[in-house]
Amino acid sequence: VSAARATRAWFALAVFALLLVGAPRWAFAQWQQPRVTVSLSQPEAEVGEAFTVELVAMVEQGAPMPEKPSLRAPAGFNVDGPRVTTQQQMSWVNGRVTGTQGLRVTWMVTGQKPGRFTIPAPSFDWNRTHVSSSTVTVVILPASGRPRQPAGSSLLPGGPGAFGWPFNGAPSASDPLDTGVNDTGSLALDEAPDPQVFLRAVADKKAAVVGEQVTVSFYLYQRVSLDLSERKEAPLADFVRAPMLKNPGTEAPVTALAGGERYLVRVMDRVAIFPVKTGDLHTGQMTLRFGRRGRNARLERQSEDLVIRVVEPPKEGRPAGYQIGDVGRFRVEAQVAPRKIEQGGTVAVTVRVSGEGNLPQAIQVPARTGIEWLDPEKRESIEPNGDVIQGYRTFGYAVRVEESGSVDLGAIELPFWNPAAKRYEVARAPLGALDVTPMSTPKLAAAAAAAQAAGEAPEEALARLPAARAALGAYEPSPGALVEGPWLWLLLAAPPAAFGLVTGGARAGRLVRERRRARKGSAPELAAEALREAERAAAAGDAKAVAAAATRAVHHAIEGASGVRARGVLLAELPGEMAARGLPDELGKRAREALEACEAMRFDPDATPGKLGDLVEAAAGLVRALGRAKAS
């Protein structure tokens, strides 16, 4: 029995281990709890009047998304929905971007009886837990009979009533399309992408620097009556966004011409976006879905995916401490209180950054050894003003001072890029000096002990850092590569190639020499040499020498052409011998005549220079003819 128990225990342990190993990473991840808000479109409503309950649940980037939102209304309430849209937000601290994502869920609720009611907390599932938000209270008043938003209308930001015609009914007698065109400016289009309804995105600029405000407006053009059923925001994944409209979609519509037709045009949203990185950044598309009144057909329209070219502000003239993304026009003010403290005490430093643009999420403080700046408490008020986002952000620091005497806190400096002036500017607020009275020795010892107990002892590994270098020492940049590219391989191949060239050249030279030497003893070469001797002798008028040289030339030529050694052959038989070796008969005859002429010249006492020249000429002609005969 005990063996069976042990086996079961081991099996259970193995299963547990497998589960641990196989569990997904997110199961162990330590995500922050979702940030949840619940709101009512209005605190009071009449019986039968619709109002909305909105739940927004945001989690950090990468965390599981909230899901399965639910609302359990009390008895006597009708609930329509939910309508769910996803949201993504990005914030920027010290040039680093952090993102959140989540859901915006809207229910349309209608009360059936008067009274004060508490609506139970909307809830959702997240990371395998059930998360509840907070309850909300609504007062339902008796019906007064005034016109009101009927139940079952669109569920959109701004609550019921946010959209009049054309979203919630057919055109009335005072159809706005009949009022004429009241926009002749930027809303007019030469061509309409759709004859009934289309969505258009417009950016106020196509290029910007990182952190510069770009305003994007989404316009809905329509010529038919529609019920808006779903709205999906443009992702704007590479931008920090700030809304420019408090209740998007509630702006009064105008009419404009598109493709020659009148359209009713409504601003569906307008956002200020601040690019967080460089490149060609896409805004993504806004998507709207509609139901056609009285029909089942559903329409979906998407805006353009705009591309904004984003670059960094210029590096030239960039001040020290500039953080990429700090773009706008800012002022910095600072307050320090109190000015007189005891050593080890703290002062409150409140820094207020105000202006327009991408207000920085963090500022660089003049921290230094002996002055510790604790994490700031931030407050802000940022909202659109006209076409720009402006406001202020305050940073409340507690600053601990470990030094004594007159301690200068330095100054807060905020370098930023002013896109209007296209230059860097630095907002500055001096903090002034503190009067710090020294702490007594026993208090110092107690403070040191307390700090050590709190684990604030200096980091051990960094306790003994070397001293800073006050001046630039000698520095020679590394010499780099020996040679670059193909030259390196040529250099490596050069020694063997040089050896090959030298030895090959030597061998070639030797061959040439040997050939020349061989050619020097050949019959044609000897014939030519003999002819040159004959010419020299003819010039000297030496008939015997001419005859001898011409005879030698003819003999060598015959030998070269036919291999017949003519010296050992009778003149009478010479033509036959030559013919037997394949030479023409005519050449044999010419050779015999030439040799006979040479023989006669040797014993001719009246040989004239003309005769000698003729003989040499005849011999030379024969030698050439024999050479050609051999070649053929």
Binding site: A367, W373, P458, A461, P466, Y475, S478, G480, A481
Partner: protein, 266 residues
């Protein structure tokens, strides 16, 4: 009067056309101001100045060293921001790359990495050490210049051997007969190593992780799994695609966000 006016106009034109750099603060002045701030313990001011120098493309081992020191001081004074230890390690690694053998930079880099290990141990995380693969170890034994010179020497020796081998039988002929195959074998090994060292130089850069830790992903952005790259770890940085770098850590390759790695200048 006309010539004076012309001279005045010419001077004004010269001023107007003078390069902006001429009016900007010289790198030496910026460094001196940052070093003075560091000496006073104003590490934030020092960091701002030294980072501005780096942004302007100014490289000097002493500037990198002081930058690392400023980040380390910020950590030591409990004013650190996430990634400061990695940035300190990157700066010290840069100082060493620019001036190999800098004992102080070596010691400071060891101290920073020691602090990272200590912090990981305090959080119950193991010290992760990625060993380079054999090819990187072999190629890293010499610099590219060293491999190229060795290959060139082998090439020259092979040629000398060929010359000696042509001599009549004797000591020179024997020496040539031994030298030729030996140098040829060496050349066939050293030439590819030179090529590999050159390819590494042209296609990769040294980098250091400057976030507390970062997970590698594949090209589609899906996590590869395995241990994350710890802060201050040295990596080999390859191509860049948008906002991501391809990195190699030990034998593991993957993609990380550009902001999580600082490329070390050389």
């Amino acid at each position: 009067v006309t010539s004076r006016a012309a001279a005045g106009i010419a001077l004004a034109v010269c001023f107007a056309l003078a390069p902006a750099e001429a009016r900007a603060e010289a790198p030496e002045e910026t460094f001196a101001a940052a070093a003075a701030a560091l000496g006073r313990g104003e590490f934030n001011a020092a960091i701002a100045g030294l980072e501005a120098l780096s942004d302007r493309g100014f490289t000097h081992p002493d500037a990198s060293f002081d930058r690392g020191l400023a980040y380390a001081m910020r950590v030591r004074n409990h004013a650190e921001e996430p990634g400061d230890l990695g940035r300190a390690a990157a700066a010290f690694a840069e100082a060493l790359a620019l001036r190999p053998g800098d004992r102080e930079a070596e010691a400071a880099l060891d101290a920073v990495r020691g602090e990272v290990t200590r912090r990981r141990a305090r959080k119950g995380k193991e010290a992760i050490d990625a060993r380079p693969t054999m090819d990187r170890v072999v190629v890293g034994l010499l610099s590219e210049r060293g491999w190229a010179l060795a290959a060139l020497a082998a090439s020259v020796l092979a040629s000398i051997g060929l010359v000696l081998r042509r001599r009549p039988a004797g000591a020179a002929h024997v020496a040539g007969s031994v030298l030729v195959p030996t140098a040829a074998v060496a050349l066939t090994i050293l030439a590819p190593l030179t090529y590999a060292a050159r390819s590494l130089r042209l296609t990769t850069q040294a980098g250091v992780v400057v976030v507390p830790e970062v997970f590698l992903t594949d090209e589609a952005g899906v996590a590869l799994g395995g241990d994350p790259l710890p802060e201050a770890a040295s990596v080999e940085v390859g191509e860049r695609q948008g906002a991501r770098y391809r990195v190699r850590w030990g034998a593991t390759e993957g993609w990380v966000p550009v902001g999580s790695v600082r490329v070390v200048g050389r």
